[in-house]
Amino acid sequence: MAKAKTERKKAKAITFSKKLIVKDITLEAKILGIASGSAEIFAEKVAEKVAKWAEKRESVTEDDINMQIAKEINRYNKDLAFVYKNRGKII
């Protein structure tokens, strides 16, 4: 029996923007009821780390960014990390 061919899938590469990440994190933090002051502080730190991670990478996808944000944000707020880890899955 012939093997089924694997469909070629390619994720859309996105333009990386530190500002957009900070904005996104502070918005998600607001939804979760996290104080905006502390959210802004750790959002900057997380965005900085993610920017450093993305520096060496030619292309990254939205999923990659979300996973990296989740990894970095985990030390500040586990609930927010859960949101980013499961983006696209939460209904």
């Binding site: 070629r8 390619k10 030619e58 292309s59 990254v60 996808t61 999923d63 990659d64």
Partner: protein
């Protein structure tokens, strides 16, 4: 090859597994690209060879110091550390794999960090997006450091960088009492440093038979003055104007100690941060998830080497690469079989083990018989004037060898015969009835096999 793809095969990671795979694919006449972001040859060559060379230097020096009882005058014995480092660099240069050698074999070498953006496409730093019909992920593993804070602000060494220092430290704390931690501890202790080992488990070498860890701890303590703190977990590294501080938990209490040098030997973690999710490849905290043919959850992607998790060794990396290549080339299905792979700790005396441990058998509630034969039962202990250690054999009721462990000179060489027996189900009676040279350490195998067969 289809015009849809830039390459037929792409191997990501030029460590031991990646180099073996890429070379074999090129020799099979396939168009293969090998992508590497750091050193060609990877940590296998850059770490294992120099580490072993310097550990052997340390053992030689320590034996020479102790050889006064044999008549060697060693009162003024010294070493020149820059010369020792020069020796390390020579070893590395001889063992290194070069890009030129790979290209001569037909491998296209691409330097850069690879990141999957799809199941057939990879974005490589400085190269744009490149596609291939099949991939092998051989990105290896890196030192693990989870659960310890302060690592981004305090300098620390790893077992690899520990042998690259300009001069040996006077005092060192080793975090981790596994194989690499103990090797590093002994190396520095042999060069005269004060060494402390901190291990979270209740003994050194927690994944090997209990007796091995006990003898190792006694030997390190009595002969080399190494202090061992078990059931102790390091939680943070801190730095002040004076020195570094290590914060650890012991007996439910938090304690601090000042150290000159810290070596983190807490194991390794698979390098899975290359967009595997975009390619449909599943992985967990141990490494990439594969089936018995080393195929991942993506039909066109395989994995080999340390990125699979489990014990790390060059021979295991080579073996997984060979199996993956056979399956990638579609030359029938070959399944992985890790039975018979040894774990070796390059201490002096050396440690080697194969097969199942007694603890694993107890956990599975499996019946077994065991014997433990001290080194002193063989004449090599007299001629070499060395008695610290033993050979342990574990077998089932039918005389089939299940596992073995040895601590003693040439343990890895002695163990090879038992690895053969474990892998190919050679009965103990055949081992016991095979002639062994009575003046060599391998004679222990015959003695232990006979003892196990006769003791019921």
């Amino acid at each position: 090859m289809s015009k849809r793809f830039d390459y037929e095969y792409m191997v990501i990671g030029a460590g031991t597994a990646g180099v073996v795979a890429a070379t074999q694919l090129a020799e099979a006449g396939r168009k293969v690209a090998l992508v590497e972001q750091e050193k060609w040859g990877g940590t296998g060559v850059a770490r294992d060879f120099p580490e072993k060379a310097l550990q052997n230097f340390g053992h030689t020096y320590a034996k020479a110091v102790e050889a006064s009882r044999m008549g060697l005058s060693s009162a003024n014995l010294r070493y020149n550390y820059p010369t020792v480092q020069h020796f390390r660099e020579k070893v590395l240069a001889k063992a290194a794999v070069t890009k030129k050698e790979l290209e001569e074999k037909g491998v296209v070498c691409i330097k850069g960090q690879a990141h999957f953006v799809g199941n057939y496409d990879v974005a490589i730093e400085g190269q744009g997006q490149i596609s291939a019909s099949k991939f092998l992920v051989a990105t290896g593993a890196a030192p693990a450091s989870e659960g310890i804070s302060g690592l981004d602000t305090v300098e620390y060494l790893t077992p690899k960088t520990a042998v690259e220092t300009e001069k040996p430290p006077k005092a060192v704390l080793i975090v981790g009492g596994g194989a690499s931690g103990i090797e590093t501890a002994q190396y520095f202790a042999e060069l005269g440093a004060k060494v402390v080992i901190v291990e979270a488990a209740d003994r050194l070498l927690p994944n090997i038979d209990e007796e091995v860890g006990q003898v190792t701890e006694q030997y390190l303590a009595k002969r080399l003055g190494v202090k061992v703190f078990t059931q102790t977990r390091v939680v943070a590294l801190e730095k002040d104007k004076v020195s570094k501080r290590v914060v650890f938990m012991r007996g439910g209490q938090e304690k601090t100690v000042r150290v000159e040098t810290v070596v983190l030997a807490t194991g390794s973690k698979a390098n899975t941060d290359l967009g595997l999710k975009n390619a449909g490849v599943s992985f967990d905290k141990n490494g990439i998830i594969v089936d018995k043919t080393l195929q991942t959850t993506a039909r066109n992607i395989w994995a080999a080497g340390d990125v699979l998790g489990g014990n790390s060794s060059m021979e295991r990396a080579e073996y997984t690469a060979e199996i993956a290549v056979i399956n990638m080339l579609g030359r029938g299905k070959t399944f992985i079989n890790y039975t018979g792979f040894m774990e070796i700790v390059n201490t002096s005396p050396q440690i080697a083990c194969v097969g199942t441990t007694e603890a694993e058998l107890k956990k599975k509630k499996r019946k077994y018989h065991k014997t433990l034969v001290p080194l002193s039962t063989t004449s090599a202990a007299i001629t070499d004037d060395f008695k610290i250690g033993f050979l342990k054999l574990i077998a089932d009721g039918q005389g089939k060898l299940l596992g073995a462990a040895m601590i003693g000179p040439c343990a890895a060489n002695v163990m090879q015969e038992l690895a053969l027996a474990v892998r190919h189900n050679i009965p103990l009676i055949q081992i016991a009835s095979t002639p062994h040279p009575s003046s060599e350490w391998s004679n222990l195998v015959k003695i232990a096999a006979r003892k196990l067969l006769t003791a019921k």
